[in-house]
Amino acid sequence: MFQKLSEPVSVVTSYNHLTHLVRPLSLSWANRHYPILHVALHHTARQGSSLQHIFSVASNDLFFRLKLDTTNLRWVLEEVSDGLPD
């Protein structure tokens, strides 16, 4: 299953002032709560002059692509996948 989305999502994050790392800890989407077990990749991209932080994360059985728009500090869920063919 692979789904492209553009849905607002609630994300709990932590910030470590020693490593300067922001880490998403869990997300709530479609009335379900998903603890994030693995932050596999964090990269940035620009849309015009707006900087976007993109976190590729995994829960127990799902992959999520989360985007943090730095102009408004809003999180958007962009992809969900379980790594299996459709």
Binding site: H38, A40, L41, H43, A58, S81
Partner: protein, 401 residues
């Protein structure tokens, strides 16, 4: 050192070539852990004709290769997972690689989005550095990313060494083992020797890499009909001739249409290609005085022409208009399958203004439009001639963006 090896560069091997294995697919597997250990293809589009840009190591085991269509890949591997290319992600990983590797050398050359070449300082222990780089990539960039590293006395042999054992290999080619390596590889394994060049070598009796190495400069010059023969003679002896940076000569864009199209359908796509090339031209501080247009038709014929002008071209409208006039005046009018445009005859924009005052206004307008698009995103403000091109000519995977 015997007489057979005495012509090989005896210097310590300090040129390192690093190749990120199955780059785009590995980065996707890094981002999504559920894709790991599975056959994955990074594709241009999810349609069956979508071109496979990079198969994962697992997909390669099924025979899936770069350049195949997704449909062909699925015939070989029915479980093939496809993922549309995400250029921003690959550029970001490329930048992280560059940042990490710059710790080891001040002479770092990005060869492509997934390949780097660096010259290590004298007295470096290349195998120790290679181990350290591999470990740091896993801990600092991504635990799924694997690189093949080759070390030799020149860039060409360092690349050959990096190709010997994939994935995750490390090999050194120097005066002590080069003949053994040459025995193991074929002519077309050498970067720069394609089937045509191999045929040229066959004509002068060179069929193997050891024969290539032992051939005289005169034989190789006669094979290649150019001074390139001498370059190969030097390269195969481990001396550096490729450590040169070539200046920018052109800015081009090309696009394969999803189906054969008539002019009214592909005209907006041509305008978008010209706009993209012109944007890069201006961003790099150049004017163009020439435009080249190339078309491949649905009946597999090909047409191209170039035109040079006295005026300095830099704005989208002038370049689009020139491209269309070249087509209308000279090209056969048939359904088109591929379009390529190139701005050439470049001159630097030193701020020298044209004698026509309208040029100053035009330049100011174009700069303002570029700033708007920088701030709000590409194609926020565009010419009407691009209408209808929205679904075409996406972001390409260029590492110099």
């Amino acid at each position: 050192m015997d007489s057979r090896t005495s012509f090989f560069n005896p210097a310590r091997p300090l040129v390192m070539h690093i190749d990120l294995n199955s780059c785009f697919a590995s980065v996707e597997q890094q981002a999504n852990p559920f894709l790991r250990n599975k056959p994955v293809a990074v594709v241009h589009s999810l349609a069956p004709y979508g071109c496979i840009l990079a198969p994962s190591v697992e997909a390669k085991l099924w025979g899936v290769k770069t350049g195949m269509t997704l449909g062909e890949g699925r015939e070989l591997c029915p479980f093939l997972l496809s993922h549309v290319a995400d250029p921003d992600k690959y550029r970001f990983v490329h930048a992280q690689f560059a940042n990490l590797l710059s710790c080891y050398s001040s002479h770092l050359i990005p060869k492509s989005i997934d390949e780097f070449c660096l010259t290590l300082p004298a007295k470096s222990d290349s195998s120790q550095i290679a181990r350290e780089i591999k470990a740091r990539i896993k801990s600092e960039i991504g635990d799924w990313l694997r690189v093949s590293i080759g070390v030799s006395t020149n860039q060409f042999l360092a690349k050959l060494a990096s190709d010997l054992h994939k994935p995750d290999g490390f090999d050194v080619i120097d005066y002590s083992n080069f003949l053994t390596v040459y025995d193991q590889v074929t002519l077309t394994d050498l970067c720069g020797i394609n089937l045509r060049n191999a045929a040229r070598l066959h004509r002068v009796g060179v069929f193997t890499v050891p024969q290539f190495y032992h051939a005289s400069p005169q034989t190789l010059i006669s094979a290649f009909q150019s001074i390139l023969g001498r370059s190969w003679h030097t390269r195969l002896r481990g001396y550096e001739i490729d450590d040169v940076q070539f200046g920018r000569k052109s800015f081009g864009q090309s696009y394969v249409l999803p189906r054969a199209m008539e002019l009214n359908e592909w005209r907006p796509i041509l305008a978008k290609l010209v706009t993209k090339a012109a944007r890069r031209l201006r961003a790099n501080g150049f004017f163009a005085q020439g435009l080249h247009l190339s078309l491949r038709y649905a009946d597999h014929t090909h047409w191209h022409t170039g035109h040079q002008t006295q005026t300095l071209l830099f704005d989208d409208a002038s370049l689009i208009s020139l491209a269309l006039s070249l087509y209308h005046q000279l090209a056969p009018h048939k359904p088109v399958k591929k379009i390529a445009v190139t701005c050439f005859a470049l001159t630097r924009d030193h701020g020298q203004l044209n004698y026509l005052t309208s040029s100053l206004k035009q330049k100011s307008l174009v700069s303002s439009l570029d700033r708007l698009n920088d701030k709000w995103g590409s194609y926020t403000v565009t010419y009407g001639s691009l209408l209808g091109s929205e679904a075409h000519v996406g972001d390409a995977i260029a590492f110099g963006k």
